[in-house]
Amino acid sequence: MPTPMATLARQQHPLASTEVQLKYLDEVTGVVPPFAHQLQSAGLDLKALAPEILQINVGKLCNQTCRHCHVDAGPDRREVMSRETMEQCLRFLDRSGMRIVDITGGAPEMNPHYRWLVTECHSRNCRVMTRCNLTIIVAAPRFRDLPEFFAKHQVEVICSLPFYEASRTDRQRGAGVFDASIEALKVLNQQGYGQPNTGLLLHLVYNPVGAFLSGPQHVLEQQFKKELHQRFGIVFNNLYVINNLPISRFLAFLLQSGQFEEYMKKLVAAFNPATVPALMCRTTLSVGWDGYLYDCDFNQMLDLKITNSNGTPIHISDVTPEQLEGRAIRLSQHCYGCTAGAGSSCGGQLVQ
């Protein structure tokens, strides 16, 4: 049986503090080289290009409490983006001309202003992606029409499903999650999502259920397509394969199971310099529920804010994309998760 889990925040766990997490990541430099040195010795540095994708994290509230969650999201979290901050995001989009939006959480649909935000982005001709945990669609009657809403606004739906079988999925995401996810995928398919020639894109996100790295994306995608179709008649477009980064609840798992150092060594051994030019932090800008900016959603959860030259955090209400171009990305040892093997990002693996 999967262990039901409370958020680290609710448990008042030491790892709920970002300082404690960063301390663990810092101390592991006795075992593995600091990520910044690793880049230097490969003759690389990590600077942002012009931002292309605005990834909006609308809050940490979620109907699930997955074991590996890097957000430490859950039903008890109260940090959700206000309508005012969303308006600031939209004004930023207007002055920047950026036209790709990626909405995440938590379960973003639980934010009371979520649909308004999607509608506003859609009306600006943005390509809108939404990260959906699937179970939310069947969690309550008021979410049942989400697939219809997504389709109406041409939203690209990116759903988490770590495995094509119940036991492994439920161990990570909670009892009953697999069955509910399959039910939700069927509703999305009925709506036309993942079906040929509908233009409604449905992608799945795979991450390893444990302290191992992901195999090749095309191999796993083939497997997922075959198994999900044979077992449940489900179709989807692409599988995005990602690695677990050693932060938040996944870090807690690594430490509890005594595998933190081993996992870090594994990531470092798999360091692939070819992934660096494609890292998502170079072109994605991440905004937190309170409107502060980050290089990526992981840095957001470690509270590594983008700052101006005097160290003041930058807020979305008070910046232009030009000011962000060329900035040095804030690094720590968790970055090794993005450069391991074929690389890892919100859009899946980075190189073949």
Partner: protein
């Protein structure tokens, strides 16, 4: 606790080249080619390796190929079935020799 097997030694596999680099280089190159995509996929080869590792009871190979099979998306059920295949061949290989025993019994016994 001291044992003959040390998990850290797996990562030191390449050090076997210290005493004979030429043969070790040949082995590692061949090994890599064996596991590349071919008429069998790298994924299928991983599962064969996992089964053979159990037949040979090599703790290093079991450690490595369990992880590799997970990474390549095999389920627990599929992995256990592969180990049963290895075990069945091992068990069968013992049992089928009983025919030899029976032949010998017949040869030696007054019928």
């Amino acid at each position: 606790m001291k044992t003959y097997y040390n998990p850290d030694d797996l990562a030191r596999f390449s050090e076997i080249s210290q005493y004979d680099k030429e043969l070790a280089d040949k082995f590692f190159k061949w090994y890599q080619e064996v596991f590349a995509e071919g008429a069998l996929s790298a994924r299928e080869k991983s599962l064969i390796a996992l089964a053979v590792a159990h037949a040979l009871q090599c703790p290093y190979c079991i450690h490595a190929y369990t992880e590799d099979a997970l990474a390549k998306g095999y389920s627990e059920e599929q992995m256990m079935e592969a180990v049963h295949v290895a075990a069945a061949i091992r068990g069968g290989a013992s049992l089928v020799h009983a025919t030899q025993m029976m032949n010998r019994i017949n040869q030696l016994s007054i019928s």
